[in-house]
């Protein structure tokens, strides 16, 4: 019964979700004014028609551009802001392209931000560092293969365990079975 609706909160969740769909990310985040709206927004998945370009300059200094979300070459002197923001969006956002550059070896906090960004779905990922190559274990690589179509990644994967080799074997066998099934 909408006859007495005076507040947005009088609308049922299905309608609120529809309204969220029409909002850009920034407006949707601003609508988290209440526990119910916060919960609804946190369960939404976004496919943003944009590129993420993140440049780690120093330990706590980064420049981010997500032009179509209203963030253009914005400098962050405290990257914990990015960590908190990306954590909220992790596993829920799809974009066209992610481009990450690190001027030096990523520190612990930068690595956490990278890990969050690597859970985004994307057509293309480029990770480039001017420091030593980052170490990466197999599970995140497999997760990346699931999330991203094209990956350009300079990294060292030197900690393969017997279990990892079994996983690689299983992935290869499944891929061959898939090819045979599809007659590729």
């Amino acid at each position: 019964n909408f006859a007495k609706s005076k507040s947005l909160l009088d609308l049922p969740n299905e309608i609120l979700l529809k309204i969220f769909k029409y909002l850009d990310l920034r407006s949707a985040l601003r609508l988290r004014l209440n526990k119910r709206l916060d919960e609804l927004q946190s369960n939404l998945h976004y496919r943003l028609n944009c590129d993420i370009d993140l440049n780690f300059l120093k330990d706590d200094l980064a420049i981010l551009t997500i032009a179509k979300c209203g963030v253009t070459e914005r400098t962050y002197n405290d990257i914990s802001i990015l960590e908190a923001g990306f954590k909220r969006l992790s596993h829920k956002v799809g974009v066209n392209r992610i481009w990450i550059t690190a001027a030096q070896d990523p520190n612990e906090q930068q690595n956490r931000i990278l890990a969050q960004l690597l859970t985004f779905k994307a057509e293309e990922l480029t990770l480039y560092t001017f420091g030593n190559l980052p170490l990466i274990t197999l599970p995140p690589l497999l997760a990346l293969a699931d999330n991203i179509s094209e990956i350009d990644l300079d990294a060292v994967c030197n900690a393969l365990t017997a279990e990892d080799l079994c996983t690689i074997h299983e992935v290869c066998v499944n891929y061959l079975l898939y090819r045979n099934h599809r007659n590729i």
Binding site: K6, L8, D24, L29, R30, L31, R47, N49
Partner: protein, 167 residues
């Protein structure tokens, strides 16, 4: 041929068959009641009860349907340049909805949802989204009468998680 629609306050509206068919709910009911365009007797002897729609709201719904009865189905554009779904609200629709305060928009939206008139529902959803777009959180809360039940700690946490995209 005409179809009779009866609202929750027992007002009868006689509408063109084409207009009645714009509502998926009414279409289904007509089908269930064996009412067909070519069978005048079935249309004359039956009326469609709509217990969730009042006379005032039904009049608005019919006004919208009259204007759109010859429209081609409209496609929603998924992921525009800002990554959101967009629905183009025509100038006539903007004019039609512009003087509705939020309560009336909600009633109309509820009717469009119940009657399953997608075009009208999308028009109103997009209109509400346009009202939200570009506003600050406190302006949105005031405009839509949103009671905040968040604790100070929760508010702080939310501010922290949205700071990256705020000016």
């Amino acid at each position: 041929p005409n179809v009779k629609l009866v609202t929750s306050d027992n007002e009868e509206f006689v509408v063109d068959f084409r207009i009645a068919k714009m509502s998926v709910t009414v279409s289904r009911l007509m089908e269930a009641m064996n009412m067909s365009e070519t069978d005048d007797a079935s249309l004359l002897s039956n009326s469609i009860p709509l217990p969730n729609v009042t006379k005032a709201v039904m009049a608005r719904v019919i006004e919208w349907c009259e204007k759109h009865k010859n429209d081609e189905p409209k496609e929603e554009k998924e992921n525009d340049k800002r990554g959101r779904t967009t629905h183009v609200v025509s100038d006539w629709d903007k004019e039609f909805l512009k003087n509705d305060e939020f309560g009336r928009l909600c009633q109309l939206m509820g009717a469009a949802n119940y009657l399953e008139i997608k075009g009208l529902f999308n028009d109103i959803s997009q209109t509400i989204a346009n009202m939200i777009h570009g506003k600050k959180s406190d302006e949105i809360a005031e405009m839509f009468n949103i009671h905040c039940d968040l604790t100070e700690a929760e508010k702080k946490e939310i501010r922290k998680k949205t700071a990256w995209c705020e000016d």
